[in-house]
């Protein structure tokens, strides 16, 4: 082999090897369709097999359709979807959470599901569930399972403190009164309530219901004012709770749950999956023991007489680039409402079904007190979040402010002014 040939081969090897990996289509020449379904539940040990069974059942019912199950850990999911979208190679169907539909929808990466969902399907959903996936009046995601924050309390610790174990606080005034009783009557290492004071994004998700229940609606409808009396009350509550030792500080949500599982936290906001989490942390809570120990209800009322919470739920979206959108929508519907999805995935995972008809169809699956409380009172109280494509950046300013008032010794009013000022700059107001 002469020198020119050697040089050519070396250059070819260094520059051309990627060509072989390019390409790939959703539909092959024989009409077979491949859908990529990106989700985090396949990346989790507890749910991997269940969701795999659901996908296998879909493929069995739809010969010629192959679902490529793309498992991405929850912590990486958000970035991975953005990267794949930016790279022009998003999955056809994707599991979404919180503000992601607004972000990806704002990018033009998600399909308008209003074109595929019929009115009966939409009517079967809870209003708040659809709100959570809507941005600029376009439905970018439909609920996969409902996981809004309810107000959980430990009945046994209530009784130990001399409170009625079956009467959770109805209003925030009642709540503060109960907190004072719990603080004075229970051992010093037991905290009346858990509020997330860390810098993780979830701290804000967990705090929104408090802002909402006090009547605050910052970032809704183009208003970025955090200095309103309603928002101030919510931040004041956070500050007072942190400064008076009502809540543990600097504990991440998993630590708060661990404390709650072991009787060191009396009350907290959390989703319906808390049942499984607390049971896994404390085997003594198996079976009926859990329901004897914990109850769940709506977030205590701050203003008015209508409870409210944030629709922090699991959703499903479809790529705007999906080449077979009808098939992709079929998969979404199957995941949302099929019997195998309900029984093999949603119920074991602790999700409340997104469709009212599912509850009516399988009443025995939702007969336990937690599911009943969710279905009858928590879910009707949920509203969509103030999500938009800038929410990620906005959230950083709000979480910083939350930390300033809770653990940073910051002046409450100045902090709220700073948040407002930063948000107005961010949104160009």
């Amino acid at each position: 082999m002469n020198r020119k040939a050697v040089a050519f081969l070396l250059l070819a090897a260094s520059t051309g090897c990627g060509v072989a990996f390019a390409g790939g289509a959703a539909e092959s020449s024989n009409g077979a369709v491949t859908l990529h379904f990106a989700n985090w539940v396949s990346a989790e040990e507890a749910t991997r097999k269940n969701i795999g069974d659901v996908i296998a059942a879909f493929q069995q019912q739809n010969p010629g359709v192959t679902v490529d199950n793309v498992a991405i850990p929850f912590d990486e999911m958000h970035q991975q979807l953005l990267i794949e979208t930016a790279g022009g190679n998003p999955p056809e169907v994707m599991q979404l959470n919180g503000p992601w539909p607004a972000e990806l929808g704002g990018l033009g990466a998600l399909a308008d599901l209003g074109k595929y969902a019929d009115q009966a399907f939409l009517d079967d959903n809870w209003k708040g569930g659809l709100e959570a996936g809507t941005y600029n009046n376009v439905l970018y995601a439909v609920p996969f399972g409902l996981t809004p924050h309810g107000f959980w309390w430990n009945k046994k610790l209530f009784a130990q403190a001399g409170l009625d174990p079956n009467s959770p606080p109805a209003t925030v005034d009642d709540l503060i009164q109960d907190i004072k009783v719990l603080k004075s009557k229970l051992p010093s290492d037991v905290y009346p309530i858990a509020l997330d004071t860390t810098k993780i994004d979830y701290a804000l998700t967990e705090f929104w219901p408090w802002i909402l229940t006090y009547g605050g609606r910052p970032m809704y409808n183009g208003s970025y004012d955090f200095t309103t009396p309603e928002v101030r009350k919510a931040f004041q509550f956070l500050q007072t709770a942190a400064q008076n030792g009502w809540t543990p500080v600097g504990q991440q949500i998993k630590d708060e749950r661990e404390l709650m599982a072991n009787g060191k936290v009396v009350m907290k906001l959390d989703g319906p999956y808390l049942v499984g989490i607390l049971r896994s942390l404390n085997p003594n809570l198996a079976g009926q023991a859990f329901f004897d120990t914990f109850g769940v209800t709506t977030v205590p009322l701050g203003v008015g007489d209508t409870p409210v919470t944030l629709a922090d739920i699991h959703q499903l979206g479809m790529s705007a680039q999906a080449k077979q959108p009808r098939v992709a929508w079929k998969l979404i519907q199957f995941l949302v409402s099929s019997e195998i999805s309900v029984k093999e995935y949603q119920v074991p995972y602790g999700l409340i079904p997104s469709l009212k008809s599912t509850v009516a169809k399988y009443p025995d699956l939702y007969a336990n007190p937690v599911a009943q409380a969710y279905i009858k009172s928590v879910i009707p109280s949920m509203i969509g979040g103030p999500y938009d494509p800038q929410y990620g950046a906005a959230g950083q300013f709000i979480i910083r402010g939350m930390q300033q008032v809770a653990v940073g010794g910051g002046d409450l009013d100045q902090t709220l002014k700073d948040i407002t000022s930063n948000l107005q700059t961010l949104y160009g107001k």
């Binding site: 070396l10 260094s14 033009g108 810098k199 990620g392 930390q403 940073g408």
Partner: protein
Amino acid sequence: MPPRGHSSPRSRSDQRYAAAFLAPTLAILALVVFYPLATVLASSLRDANLLARAGGRFVGLGNFVRLLTLDEVFPTAVLNTVIFTASSVVGAFVVGFALALALSGRVPLRGFLRGIALIPWVIPGVIVALLTLYMFNGEVGIVNFTLRSLGLIRHFIPWFARERAALAALVVANVWNQTPFYFLMLLAGLQTQPEELVEAAKMDGAGVVLRFLNVTVPHLKGIIMIITALMVIWNFNNFDLIWATTQGGPVDATMTLSIYTYRQAFLSFQFGYSTAISVVWLLGLLAFSVFYIRVMEGSRRA
């Protein structure tokens, strides 16, 4: 013989041959180093963000002006980076040097103790971070239990909810993790220390301290310069320990440049702005490296 400055046909052929062999390496370097670097520099001059799909508007030095004049977190991030880096390097160096000196002589169980001392170094950064979270947990952490048992504190300290305590906790964890590196390098240097120099110093009446200052330290000077330079750069870039524990909080108490860049890029999606931070960060590290290399060269000449 061909005239000077003109290469023979054979020589030119060799050059082409050499160039062909170098091409793959250069291509890879261009792909993984120069192209990303150029992209970062270009991006820092634009307001690239999540919504700006085409890469954003060209804003010139706008991102840098905002960073250096308006951003209230950036100065804190720079200060925290310097404090974290300096404390970690000095702390781990002192402990590592002490261990190396202690275990360089003939001590019982020397081999076993040397092995034990290396353990923190082989633990992955994320595991160190998780251990740190548990050890410094404000409710059940062993650090609080130990301090209270020793009578040093009366109430548990919520380490990651107190601004000063959080950075201190991370430095302690980082020193623990990095000490073995200094220990290993300095121990290797001590093994090559000429025994006759030490003996000569003894005969001249030098005590332990004088022998350490006038024989051991000069002998290890080269190693010390290299490992501290390396560790300054590594600690400047430390991400996993801080991200997995505090994510830069409470408030901005543990916000370093690496964490701030990440937050701007992947939580706020201000890609242009985050690349501007990384450009300033890169320039800072380059300035340090140039200064350090000059000091090293000056020291070597002296």
